[in-house]
Symmetry: C2
């Protein structure tokens, strides 16, 4: 039995016409000989509508009840999806997370999948049914409804694919993963095959195609993912283990992230334990800090900068101001007008000169670098926001359009 898990996002099931369109894609897969398990998100807008209702009751609604409320969005979508499949002649049943069951821990609104029982799904597939499973939701061992947090439906699909030993197709509203955001870089190209590692870096760097946690899960369990558009027939992007990526570009893609802010603690007394005081306080508040820069000390004082996600800037600023006072720093300065531009590619591991070339491109365009961070397969530079699009286009031109990168062909 050749099984395929096929996941549709909110816009792909945004109205009844689109659900019918999605159903026809499922039928195409059935014709290709697959047994298909469908995973569906809520119809676009529904989850936000429900969260908004809850916030009218209580700005911080109790999370167990929030899960109870918002899980209805997917439940409605899967029922309509299964009805549509049946109308088109395909035997189908919808299943909530608790009916599969998709077992999770009990951390409401951001539960982790612990275990998926696949016997029921397998029986349904063997009986000729096409099950439609609610994404984003699960159930605890004690029967409480949970949701998996942002991007949870992708995670549901990848986890089900793993549990069923299947590949996973993610239908979304973009054509796949691109070498850069096509709205900014018209010359950007669709990437046919990309490694988990690269995709993971890109997700962390602001590419919105898939959430990092789904890719992490896929990487850990080696689930092959095909991300493609539900509005087009062309192939999208395969996300696969590194050894399956034949063409190892030094730079696979360029990303631009405008969702960070920089916070600078000015004139910090330079003595042991100061950095700890600041970042311990932020960690305790569950704030994720990205790039950290500490300048060389002058006369016993230094400046310390870091970036955080825009949504957490105010919270971080508040916390750091308090710490700054305690440690005798002069002031705390916040800057929202920053952007992070990055080059990503697994080929970077076995090549050199990429950083130098990146800095050269920025320098030649008069762009000042405010901070740098690197991993094995990416280099990120913090720059002024107003240069963001220019930097993205110029880096794309230099690294990808001009095709100067060293290509390592996998011979095995």
């Amino acid at each position: 039995m050749k099984i395929l898990v096929v996941k549709f996002g909110g816009t792909s099931v945004g109205n009844l016409e689109r659900i019918e369109n999605a159903s026809k894609r499922v039928i195409q897969k059935l014709k290709e000989g697959y047994r298909v398990v469908v995973v569906s998100s809520a119809m676009s807008g529904e989850t936000d509508r429900l969260i908004n209702l809850a916030k009218q009751v209580d700005p911080m609604p109790p999370e167990r009840e929030l899960d109870m409320l918002i899980s209805t969005g997917e439940q409605q979508a899967i029922a309509l999806f299964a009805m549509t499949l049946q109308k088109l002649g395909v035997p189908s049943v919808s299943l909530c997370g608790w009916q599969v069951p998709v077992l999770t821990d009990d951390v409401h609104t951001k539960a982790r999948v612990k275990r998926i029982v696949v016997q029921k799904l397998k029986n349904l597939l063997e009986e000729g049914y096409t099950p439609v499973v609610a994404g984003f939701q699960g159930v605890t061992e004690s029967g409480e409804i949970t949701t998996l947090g942002r991007g949870g439906s992708d995670l549901s699909a990848v986890a089900l694919a793993y549990a069923l030993g299947a590949d996973c197709e993610i239908y979304t509203d973009v054509e796949g993963v691109f070498t850069a955001d096509p709205r900014i870089v018209p010359n950007s190209k669709k990437i046919p095959v990309i490694s988990y590692e690269e995709m993971l870096e890109m997700a962390s760097l602001g590419a919105k195609v898939m959430q990092a946690r789904s890719i992490e899960f896929a990487m850990k369990h080696r689930v092959r993912i095909h991300v493609r558009s539900s509005f087009s027939d062309s192939d999208g992007t395969w996300i696969v283990p590194e050894e399956e990526v034949m063409e190892k570009s030094v730079v696979r893609a360029i990303t631009l992230d405008r969702n960070e802010s920089r916070i600078t603690v000015v004139r910090v007394p330079d003595r042991p334990g100061i950095a700890y005081s600041i970042f311990k306080a932020l960690g305790d508040a569950h704030i994720v800090v990205d790039m950290i820069v500490q300048n060389v000390s002058h006369q016993g004082y230094t400046d310390m900068s870091f970036t955080v996600n825009r949504s957490e800037t105010s919270k971080a600023e508040q916390i750091v101001k308090k710490v700054a006072q305690e440690i005798g720093a002069q002031e705390v300065v916040r800057d929202d007008r920053i952007a992070k531009v990055s080059v990503v590619g697994i080929g970077m591991r076995s090549s050199y000169g990429t950083a130098a070339k990146m800095f050269e491109v920025l320098y030649k365009n008069g762009i000042n670098i405010m901070a740098i961070s690197t991993s094995e397969i990416k280099i990120s530079c913090l720059i002024e926001d107003k240069y963001g699009e220019l930097a993205l286009r110029e880096l794309h031109s230099a690294f990808i359009e001009e095709g100067e990168e060293v290509k390592v062909v996998n011979e095995s």
Copy 2:
């Protein structure tokens, strides 16, 4: 532990403000010393919206999927209700039908409750929680979501009250049960206490306060019900076992039902088996026939009339036309302009003259009686629809306002 089941209908939870109002009623009951189990319908309009969506997919949507879809209405309402209670300081958890569980048979869209497991509810009550249970929905032994059909939330409440050994309060948008429809009879009065038998007759006769099946269940299991308005503080109507009704009016109430049609099979050959042919065919099609009248035979032919609910008239007409042809009847005539007026009261069992008085009132107002049917505790007359309101007012005046009825006071 003094437990009370409190049920709110769709208009009582129609928006967040009303849910807050309903929550305050729950808090009042908690202050009176009850442990409360809340049962909630979907917010008004939501179930219809979902059914409409399903019908856009398929005019006859598959019933399993329809249950999956429409059960989300109650799930949303209970989550918002539990959030509101928590905001007001009352520890609360919402529970879907499958979480209680409310176990049903597997007849989707009109399932019957088989068994309610109350241990979880009792534990929650003992721990100080106020559980909010989704009405209208249940689950089969094999984990399929079912719904209980029209009036299902009332049934959920009554069944839970039975299972918990509790009384049941039904909050709705009317003040209680009246001696006649107050929109037609301004002098009608709220009935403080009524027997199951009377209430059951009234429900069958078009009074819309509660569905017959909930009352049947309450009668069978002797659950005491208090029907009252969620928009008023005054007492409503208690529906209780007959022996608890102190004042046994001969006529408790007058009802008017304008939701029937009459079908007449004209010039039927009068021979054995003819009635069987007609009503067997209707029974096979699950059509409920109400009043049946067969005239005296003339020259081997007779006319046969019966009434059915307006929603099934066309279907019944079609079936009967086919049978009429087979048995050699002349034609089938349909009349939608009819009304059924009824007097109801348990005191009727031990008194006489009620029928004569009813016929007299109709006669004096120039109203012709087209058919009569009786039970131990009611008399119904079929009349022309245009006289419906007149008949209701005149009968109310004669039997209830003038207070002529024999009153039997229960001495025990």
